[in-house]
Symmetry: C2
Subunit: 256 residues, 2 copies
């Protein structure tokens, strides 16, 4: 039997790693790292920093897994993602099958939390279902960017007895803010979909949360929407990539 640990390592601040994650980092003989090319070099360095800081005093191997090209122009988003997952699963099964010995312990590090908009778990579940893999897996939760966002803005994501909706930029653009819901967290938004909501809506936005590049902006969409778009575009151009998330809070009908 082989064991694979899926470890949430937080949103970017190495201090936001849990004791449980540190223990897990120290159990692994092999770290499997997805090679996304050069554009997210900062994240590769940050991940290395976490490994060195918390699992540095021992020997382990880093094994890279190539990333297949994803068809981002396909209108059938879900199908494109599923096809891409199939390809990734094939690669992972091959690499993990070859590099993780019987009785060995491997690890996959996940930014944020493995349970929130991350495909690692789905792929591991799929390859663990192949009898030839003889693979068990465990999941270690991590602080998500949503939590880092709320903490840095010093706000609660939820209001008393009210629901919270977590969605993607694509779905916000399609569905808007759902009825009977005043608080919406938006992730994976490449298109600043907040520009289409009621301009009185409050927005709490954050990018590169927990890192030294962190940017925080908040106010009504009317007041800070343009500023967020400008900051986002500038940072993305300068760094070559961006990770951001935000909370939308519906304007009160009768402000106190």
């Amino acid at each position: 039997m082989r064991l694979l640990l899926i470890i949430g390592i937080g949103a970017g601040d190495p201090d936001q790693v849990t004791v449980q994650a540190i223990k897990a980092l120290n159990r692994a003989d092999v770290f499997f790292v997805v090679d996304k090319g050069t554009d997210k070099q900062d994240m590769v360095l940050l991940r290395q920093e976490i490994c060195e800081r918390y699992a540095g005093n021992r020997s382990y191997r880093m094994v890279s897994m190539p990333e297949p090209e994803r068809d981002r122009r396909s209108p059938a988003y879900r199908q494109a993602v599923e096809r891409w997952r199939e390809e990734r699963a094939g690669i992972w099964a091959e690499v993990i099958g070859a590099e993780l010995a019987d009785g060995g312990c491997g690890a996959l590090l996940v930014w944020g939390d493995p349970g929130l908009y991350d495909s690692t778990l789905a792929i591991v579940e799929q390859i663990a279902g192949l009898p030839a893999m003889d693979l068990e897996f465990e999941v270690i939760p991590g602080i998500s960017s949503v939590q880092a966002l709320a903490a840095r803005h010093r706000i609660s994501l939820t209001q008393v007895g009210s629901p919270l909706y977590i969605t993607t930029g694509r779905r916000l653009a399609e569905d808007g803010i759902p009825e009977h819901c005043d608080d919406v967290v938006v992730m994976l938004d490449a298109s600043c979909s907040f520009t289409a909501v009621d301009p009185g809506t409050e927005i709490y936005w954050g990018a590169y949360l927990g890192t030294r590049d962190e940017i925080l902006l908040s106010g009504t969409v009317r007041d800070v929407g343009g500023q967020i778009q400008a900051a986002r575009g500038e940072a993305r151009a300068r760094k070559g990539w961006i990770m951001d998330t935000y909370l939308l809070r519906r304007a009160k009908a009768n402000p106190a």
Copy 2:
């Protein structure tokens, strides 16, 4: 100026505390502890264990804050909670004002994450608004019970490109599972409101997550709903309290 740290300490497993939280625990001279009476003695002990394990080698004070009675029979839920918060804010302002010296650092420990259905932040924000308090505050995120639930069941809370709805038992009973949303996390449900959803819905339930009393059950509501109700009632009677949460996942219209 006084500083108050609002520290998320995870859902129950002392290993799920972050390095950032440990550093914060070690900055505090005074821990303010809400005295909820005797019925959640386990949680008091667990919190003590966390303090001793991570901040044990130094001197600090524990100051208890009495908890006002909350009117749980009031039909006006939100108003009752808000009145209760006002009373708590008065008590906290008095105790913190008297016990936290100028230049001192206090801490409030929050189970789970301070941004998810927790009133600590709202109360601190309110008392920090009183000029006489001269109070600054910081928030440190923590692993929530929702994340502990997903990790222990080894599931993702989200599906590809789909939204996640986080709500309360009360709201689930009123609103049901919202349209266009297949995944609903339910917290603070004292009434097993999952019994009213389509019995084909999958449920992933967990209680006392991360502690030695942890219970996990999953399946369709049809298959395990009764079992969850029985386990919940039994555990609650035996221990005098329960903390549980669950994910509902809508049955696929066309099962593969």
